[in-house]
Symmetry: C2
Subunit: 376 residues, 2 copies
């Protein structure tokens, strides 16, 4: 049995590495601001003044409108009171975990970022894995599952649940009285994931909860918002759980998001995407020289999985070897929360870093792998 | 039985009041920036650049050092790895609640802000109230209590646990293997609460956890940090609980706090205190005209309790009457989480507001009270 440390602990280690190693662990955008973004950040002092002058609900509404429309979610319940602004998507996830009935059985996509499973288990929920294969085959779980969690796009694989599949899931959930929970934290990065999922879920008459995140899009150093939206049908005590966790998100951060969302539809999306794709390409090329390949060549999100051949060293070994060379990445076992062994062939690198950082890390990986497999 | 809605829900209602009523509910500083603070806020764009350039641990360490020394906590374990930066003190409290063993019995000061009790109960802990009278009489709870929570200064009463009393509590806890948990969220406002509690607890050999908060000091629109510090003796899985909740606080916010702490020791403390005391005085004078008085005339924190005579209307009634006049305050029953009835004679107003806001609210209270007691 592989010992499973949670992924965030490895990310914390990378962030607090006093030796100053390269950090390619977390999915946050660790980039220099573009000139357009820098212009917006320069206006933060004005946003402080504005936060005192303008009523909070007005500032919040503007941010919801700008962000959700920038990522194609035109049917999100903006202005209905059913979108809550949280400090982060993690906190939004925990609020959902708390609002679900203790002891309920929840199906969660597998693999996916371990934090979702951890938060749900800590709140006393029972989990069953739903594989990406099952999702693609539209095999939806029945009794005793009362809620189904889909990460869209999935992290780390980049898999995007196709619209028709979500329609099928929504219809199934409506028939069986299940809640569909979508974690759309990475959606802002990928146009293909920006079809209007609120419209799909409402059309099927499903009960749903959706978590959106600004934290993966912009290099705003944790000044971010996790949105927690829920359907008119939802009877869970979400507002009570929210009020236990926070009073309100920052009106300064909400204004920042309004502005950055405006930039996102004015070329920001394309600028960020180009950088990620350039980084993905250099990883692919560099590791290809030693026989390694991208596990998800079609993924468009800002992280990439690398697949290790079955007859070679596993990702735990490669992870440690890279750590010894001062490069932090993530072994994928913890993403496979229900079956860590099945993640041993994969390693994840973040692409939302400078080109130089990603290139150097890929070179280190190739070199480490070569030395781990001398006979090849 | 009085129906008990949690306090944060009432604060959310006040914050999102579309009619634009006066909000004297939450303890956050809702003030215009002083010129010194505005100069600091003007440098936030530079802090963005700095956050990319400087290693995170260095930025975090500087903030811990500046903030804890500004509030007299020279023995706090700065640099030991045992101070965690959270998005808020509420999140820090929830991390503690999660790390305590499920089913444990915890003594919590009574009355105090209801959120502490709510978060602990939600995490499966059993609570017993410890009255302010018991604290002042140094009557400490024994078995089966395994942790004792003291809010210092207390909210809403402003009571400051004297140093000798904390020494007694620490010795008791060390003898009985209990953990002392201090919520020091309001400490920054009051010099008398700034004796070095870390030194007291360590000297007694006690196991302790302390929560500090920057959120009550400065009008930074929720750009704040809750610090979670713990003793060398603590064996609770605090780091694991932290890693489930967040990766890291914002390095921009940490820099902001370093700067504001610098201002705090250079006159900022006195400037803020003078404003609060001017507001307390106008409340005292205005409500005195109708026979109402401050419940805690010696309190120095930025909220004040008003006591209603036993033979008149209770605070729920006065609360509703003020709400009808567009002024949001807090009835005190929810602070008395173990015995809501005992809070019915008190109402809380926040003083960290502009003088005009506080004066107008006090006038409204006096008028409302006069009309509720026509025969007096």
């Amino acid at each position: 049995m592989t010992e499973v440390v949670n992924l965030t602990t490895m990310e914390v280690d990378a962030l607090t590495d006093v030796e100053g190693g390269l950090n390619l662990t977390d999915g946050h955008a660790r980039l220099v601001l573009t000139s357009q973004q820098a212009d917006i950040v320069a206006r933060i002092p004005e946003m402080f003044v504005e936060a005192t002058r303008r009523p909070f609900p007005e500032i919040e509404l503007a941010a919801h409108k700008a962000f959700l429309s920038a990522i194609g979610q035109h049917s999100a319940p903006v202005g209905s009171g059913r979108i809550l602004s949280c400090y982060s998507s993690t906190l939004a996830t925990d609020i959902v975990a708390r609002a679900l009935p203790a002891g309920a059985t929840v199906a969660v996509l597998h693999p996916t970022f371990d934090n979702i499973a951890d938060l749900f288990v800590t709140r006393g929920l029972k989990l069953v894995p739903m594989s990406e294969e099952a999702l693609l085959a539209q095999e939806w779980p029945g009794e005793p599952v009362s809620a189904i969690v889909v990460t869209l796009p999935n992290n780390p694989t980049g898999l995007i649940t196709p619209k028709g599949h979500l329609e099928s899931l929504a219809a199934h959930a409506a028939r069986h009285g299940q809640t569909v929970i979508i974690d759309a934290s990475f959606r802002g990065q990928v146009r293909d994931a920006q079809y209007d999922t609120y419209a799909v879920l409402d059309a099927a008459g499903a009960d749903w909860i959706t978590i959106e995140d600004t934290g993966k899009l912009w290099p705003t150093h944790e000044l971010k918002i996790g949105l927690l939206a829920y359907s008119e049908r939802t009877t869970l005590p979400i507002e009570r759980a929210f009020s236990e966790s926070l009073l309100a998100a920052s009106p300064v951060v909400l204004q920042l998001i309004t502005e950055l969302a405006g930039d996102w539809v004015n070329g920001g999306y394309e600028r960020a995407g180009a950088l990620v794709e350039r980084n993905r390409a250099v990883v692919k090329e560099t590791i290809g020289q030693v026989g390694l390949k991208l596990a998800d060549p079609d993924s468009q999100i800002s992280v990439a999985r690398i697949e290790l051949p079955v007859d070679g060293p596993d990702s735990e070994l490669l992870y440690k070897e890279m750590l010894a060379r001062g490069v932090h990445v993530l072994p994928c076992s913890p993403f496979h929360w229900a079956d860590p062994e099945s993640g041993l062939r994969f390693i994840r690198v973040s692409l939302a870093r400078s080109f130089e950082t990603v290139e150097k890390a890929a070179q280190t990986m190739a070199q480490a792998y070569r030395e781990l497999t001398p006979g090849r």
